[in-house]
Symmetry: C2
Subunit: 330 residues, 2 copies
Amino acid sequence: MAQPATLKLISEQLNLSISTISRALKNHPDISENTKRKVKELAALMEYEPNSYAVNLRTNKSKVFGLIVPFFSNMFNDSFISAVEEDARKNGYSLMILQSGDDPLQESENLKLCKHYRVDGILISLAAKSYSIELCARYREAGIPIVFFDRVPETGGFDTVCIADEETATMAAHTILTYKKKKILALFGNPDLSITKKRKDPFLKILEKEKGIETETQYCANTQDAKDFTSSALRKSSVPDHIFCMSDEILIGVMKALKNSKLKIPEDISVLAISNGFIPGLYSPEISYIETSGYELGKLAMKRMLENMEGKTAAKSIMLPSRLVEGNSL
Amino acid sequence: MAQPATLKLISEQLNLSISTISRALKNHPDISENTKRKVKELAALMEYEPNSYAVNLRTNKSKVFGLIVPFFSNMFNDSFISAVEEDARKNGYSLMILQSGDDPLQESENLKLCKHYRVDGILISLAAKSYSIELCARYREAGIPIVFFDRVPETGGFDTVCIADEETATMAAHTILTYKKKKILALFGNPDLSITKKRKDPFLKILEKEKGIETETQYCANTQDAKDFTSSALRKSSVPDHIFCMSDEILIGVMKALKNSKLKIPEDISVLAISNGFIPGLYSPEISYIETSGYELGKLAMKRMLENMEGKTAAKSIMLPSRLVEGNSL
DNA sequence: TATTTTTCCGCAAACATTTGCGGAAATGTT
DNA sequence: AACATTTCCGCAAATGTTTGCGGAAAAATA
């Protein structure tokens, strides 16, 4: 334990060559059972563990994936990371997790860090105003597989795994129709994000086709915005009978505003969100939501990454279907 | 870009030796300014980046810290990790984050993984029924600095950084006294966890000294427990005028139960929690809490780890003081 | 016994980098 | 011109592991 065990150390103890030790530990057929046994015993005794630095150098692989997210303190990414970590571990890989703080500069720094550490592959969810895409493209040319998830590039030609946002929004709109809501307040996030557009357009498209439905749309930069917009909508003469929330962040604001009003959910006003379910479950009654499972997405992303490890394949876009989870808010 | 640049590649282009290239790039005084310039230019052109595998092997350092937590999808750890990551990055380190899922086996696997990757140090928050402490001790003997945080070993002799739990609980109790509450429901978590004991004992000690105060204590294994205990307490003839929640998990359950009752916060019943603030901020009125800042703790933990990098120092126990954040629930 | 085959193992190069040491050439000093 | 000094650079070893190749000894065949 004083000196960390190496092949050399073991070979000197046993009067064998280093290569014999190496082969014995790997069950190479060239080595007799007898010496294999002796070598393994001593190796166990000395608590030998291959020096990963040396192995990496030799094999030019690290068995580590880089994972870059805007924030990991976010319900969606949390469960995504859990899933990725789980399957990475099962396949002998580990994760180097970096967060960009939604800052494009930090994001590209993180990419460079992944390159520096020579990770075997990169999983990344882009920052809002990312300019890292061409860096990614160059890295991919250089042989680093990259799988984008959730927030993916607009341009094609990349491996992407994301929520079927259009489908999710469509499902939300249809759900609202089913419940025969007439006056809807629909709250969306940052209009610069492609996810916002992808959710808003199909959503509105469906509702606009219907007659007798009035829809008010607002963009909310944050929770406070959502709270303020909701509060002012509730003060108007004609109060909405439904609020749709594009994200958890917005839902939180909406619920604060509703708490301060006299309105009962779902009798006076109904609520539907897009979420992974944690936040909706905090309220009473629990809020109905269209599920966007970070966990499921993580599984898919890792699967795709492992395919990349097997060998080159053409870029692929994968969509994760979503489903309605009924609480008691409709 | 076809071939990743190496010192050898550059040396061949310039008809210089590998060692000269290496020294030139490091501004070694032995190398003339002239050749330094030429080398650096070509290196930049070829986008040379030192092979970290080789550097690690040579220097026997990885510039990576291992970070092991029961869960990272937990508000406290989230902010802890953010802080650690921030300061690690500033000092040229990266993080390998592993979660044990509060499973002792997984935890020891993770420790072994850190050893395997030969991280330069380990930051760890122990699982509930951890038996990894002696493994940690052995690793530390073997030269891997280990800093425990939040959930630390009972036995001494380790570097620990944690919330001043006793102080936190004391502060909570005094706060409750200040508001002249008479009938208190105090909800705690898993009684097997040392944190539960550390919070409960000082809390009760203070309240028991006061006359005319009635305190009911319950252990909650989870959110549902907290909800159920609260609901049944509210059904009794004599309803509590205050509920104390040891953790976010418990607070969530309590709030669900309160939502289902007619009681108003803070008029009919008051609430105080121990939290990092995210969950308390979700409610309206916002819940008052004794702050346990994961972020601050992360700063301290990283500081301690970096001291370890400087050189051997005696083990140290560090406590992070806490403070009351007033919402409107008291 | 002579030859072939099999069994078992070692040599040495390679991965990319760092660094002590030594040495040729250029410059400076008597 | 002979010597000492400085400037600039290369050799080679070392980090620990993997692997192609070759070779001695043992076993099998003729």
